[in-house]
Amino acid sequence: MGYTDIIARYSDKPGGLIEAFHAVQKELSYLPEEVIVEAARIFNVPVAQAYGVASFYSMFSTKARGKNIIRICESAPCHVAGAAEVVAAIEAELGIKAGESTADGSFALELTECVGQCQATPVITINGKAYLDVNPAKIREILAEYK
């Protein structure tokens, strides 16, 4: 299904623009410019406004990125529990820095705000699935699921 059809499925819903962006991003991993322009047309809002929405939410990316999106919480509880070491371990495993994607397009590594799982810090999510009580030793095994 092309992105126009995906967006159009949400065109009658109030606030459907955000859902449409999520749906497109599920397919493409990010929101290319033409998707934002097309969504603006379908939802009858100025492109500047649709771009404002796309760039506001950290869940959306307007830049191309890897298929599997790893996000690590950088809020205080995770930070105290050693998130920095976890980040370093993922960076070493993938050979990229936070904010980058692997050259083969398989992974993107992003920092995020609290994901609401502070009972079991540090937390990472991959494609929305949360991994709790993460430590550097667990990283290789977790990532292997997606390789």
Partner: protein, 574 residues
């Protein structure tokens, strides 16, 4: 009414008033930065915080509504300290190059820094280091200077319905950007420059071309000729510390001669000529079943808007060039010939209330004299700087006259500077041409004023002509959607891109509120009333140019020099 106390002063104000409004009533002035009197409340800068009894936190005066029995303190040590810290934090992200800034001496942030005696900022200066945007010939953006007040976004979206500017990102990373974060030229920007007036600082300004002008003056081979747009005189006074409208025209002319112009002529002459051409074009369209309603074509921001958002309606636009461009093509043909000057040596400078005129003058089709018709466009603000640079004392300057052939004008041309003026000027002439009767009362007051959309009907020998006038492009959009839907009842529509018309143009002295636009409009009609001639077709220089050169309105020569065509702007995204 609601009773409250502001700094110990008791006052009653209407329900729904904000602290800011209530305080103003008792002469308490609360500092603001993101607040704009003609816009929605933003409350994002926090400079206006005050103490409200019973509230633990300071409240933003621009946003907080008053309530019965409220006690407000606007100048306690706590308040002043908070405001200073807020300013220091804003300044910490602001470039410190005020001396080189286009808004030096006319900047809301600079004024606040002065008022609050900000000396040693404890916060380290960190600017974003973003590139400036010089992509358009009309205006530039300097995003490092942006204080994120969002006034420009409201001007662009709500007032102009252009939406070339928007917000990108969130929190400390948020920025005002042209559409999709690209440069202005790629965005739907129509270069009206209303964002310049909205901006409290120097994050947006006109493409300043004073250096180019001074280089032309210094070139002994160039004969520098100028034309002044009708809206400039009423506002130029503000640039040199005089009251709006107080600059006498002959003193203005003398000032221009003093800064080095070889010849001083007036765009008003071609405004009168526009009426002859456009009035006849309207009559021709009415008679021959041409495309109606016909739209005026004087405002280059409006032309850009039509080409960008309504390319299907460009046939409705009058083919008349704007008065600036008519002047440009004639000064290097008709006038050069009359004066015995080689047009190759003429450097034609227009003085405009407008930044879109800089773009218009650079359009490739605007070369019908065989040269670029208008070589340089300077805004009212740039002329103000040149006047100040030259140290002129306008109270002591003797008056001077315009040079011949293209310097005479009527009151009908004067009112081109205000919304409704082109329509009124056209009606004054069209009425007399069609009916053969002399118009006893030339004042069509219904077309006047800053109201967004105005309409009128005129009986021309039994034919009722319906006209509409819009200023501000969100208002124009309403009329355009009607036309597109085939539901427009009008024959003739005047559009000026800027609120209030050219007097509120993007090149005018920084205009902080619409009340200033209204003052300028009033000054325009005072000038019209004072004119001996108030109908374009009785201008003797207009008669002369038709006798000697053009021969007839809409004739061959007119077609070649005074009329133009339009394009689809083909913007990739709107």
């Amino acid at each position: 009414m609601v009773n409250l106390t502001v700094d110990g002063i008791k006052i009653s104000v209407p329900e729904g008033s904000t602290i800011l409004q209530a305080a103003k009533e008792v002469g308490v002035s609360i500092p603001t930065l993101c607040y704009h009197p003609d816009q929605a409340v933003k409350a994002n800068c926090r400079v206006c915080v005050c103490e409200v009894e019973g509230n633990r936190l300071l409240q933003a005066a621009c946003a907080m509504p008053v309530f019965e029995g409220m006690t407000v303190k606007t100048r306690t040590p706590k308040v002043l300290e908070a405001r200073r810290t807020i300013l220091e934090l804003i300044l910490a992200n602001h470039p410190q190059d005020c001396l080189n800034c286009i808004r030096n001496g006319n900047c809301e942030l600079q004024s606040l820094a002065e008022e609050f005696a900000i000396r040693d900022n404890p916060f380290e200066n960190k600017v974003r280091g973003l590139p400036k945007d010089f992509s358009t010939p009309a205006l530039f953006r300097d995003p490092d200077k942006c204080v994120l007040c969002r006034r420009c976004i409201e001007a662009c979206s709500v007032i102009q319905s252009v939406n070339a500017l928007g917000l990108e990102g969130r929190g400390v990373h948020s920025m005002v950007v042209p559409t999709l974060g690209k440069d202005l030229l790629e965005s739907p920007c129509i270069m009206c420059g209303q964002c310049i007036h909205a901006c409290p600082v120097g994050a947006i300004g006109e493409n300043e071309q004073i250096d180019e002008f001074l280089a032309a003056l210094a070139d002994p081979n160039k004969i520098v000729v100028t034309q002044i747009a009708p809206a400039v005189r009423v506002a130029i006074a503000e640039e040199i510390g005089m009251t709006t409208g107080d600059m006498p025209m002959n003193v203005f002319v003398q000032g221009l001669r003093q800064i080095g112009f070889d010849y001083v002529l007036h765009t008003n002459f071609t405004a009168d000529l526009t009426i002859m051409e456009e009035g006849n074009e309207l009559l021709k369209r009415l008679k021959e079943g041409g495309t109606l309603p016909m739209f005026t074509s004087c405002s280059p921001g409006w032309i850009n808007f039509c080409e960008t958002f309504y390319p299907d309606l460009t046939n409705n636009l009058s083919t008349c060039k704007s008065p600036q461009q008519m002047f440009g093509s004639l000064v290097k043909t008709y006038w050069a010939d009359k004066m015995g000057i080689d047009p190759a040596n003429i450097y034609s400078v227009s003085i405009m209330p407008c930044v879109a005129k800089k773009f218009e003058a650079a359009r490739p089709e605007m070369c019908s004299s065989g040269y670029r018709d208008v070589d340089l466009v300077l805004t009212t603000r740039e002329i103000g700087r040149l006047f100040r640079m030259s140290g002129l004392d306008f109270n002591k300057l003797p008056g001077a006259d315009f040079d011949p052939w293209m310097g005479k004008y009527t009151g009908a041309a004067v009112i081109f500077g205000a919304s409704g003026g082109v329509m009124e000027a056209a009606l004054r002439t069209v009425y007399e041409v069609v009916t053969g009767n002399t118009l006893e009362d030339v004042n069509f007051t219904v077309t006047r004023g800053i109201t967004g959309i105005k309409e009128a009907e005129v009986d021309l020998n039994g034919t009722v002509v319906k006209v509409a006038i819009a200023n501000g492009l969100a208002n124009a959009r309403k009329l355009m959607d009607q036309v597109r839907a085939g539901e427009s009842p009008y024959h003739f529509i005047e559009i000026m891109a800027c609120p209030g018309g050219c007097i509120g143009g993007g090149g005018q002295p920084i205009t902080k509120a619409n009340v200033k636009r209204v003052e300028r409009i009033d000054a325009i009609y005072v000038e019209d009333e004072a004119c001996e001639m108030r109908k374009s077709h009785i201008n003797p220089e207009v008669t002369a140019i038709y006798e000697d050169f053009l021969h007839e309105p809409l004739g061959h020569k007119s077609h070649e020099l005074l009329h133009t065509h339009y394009h689809n702007a083909n913007k990739k995204f709107l």
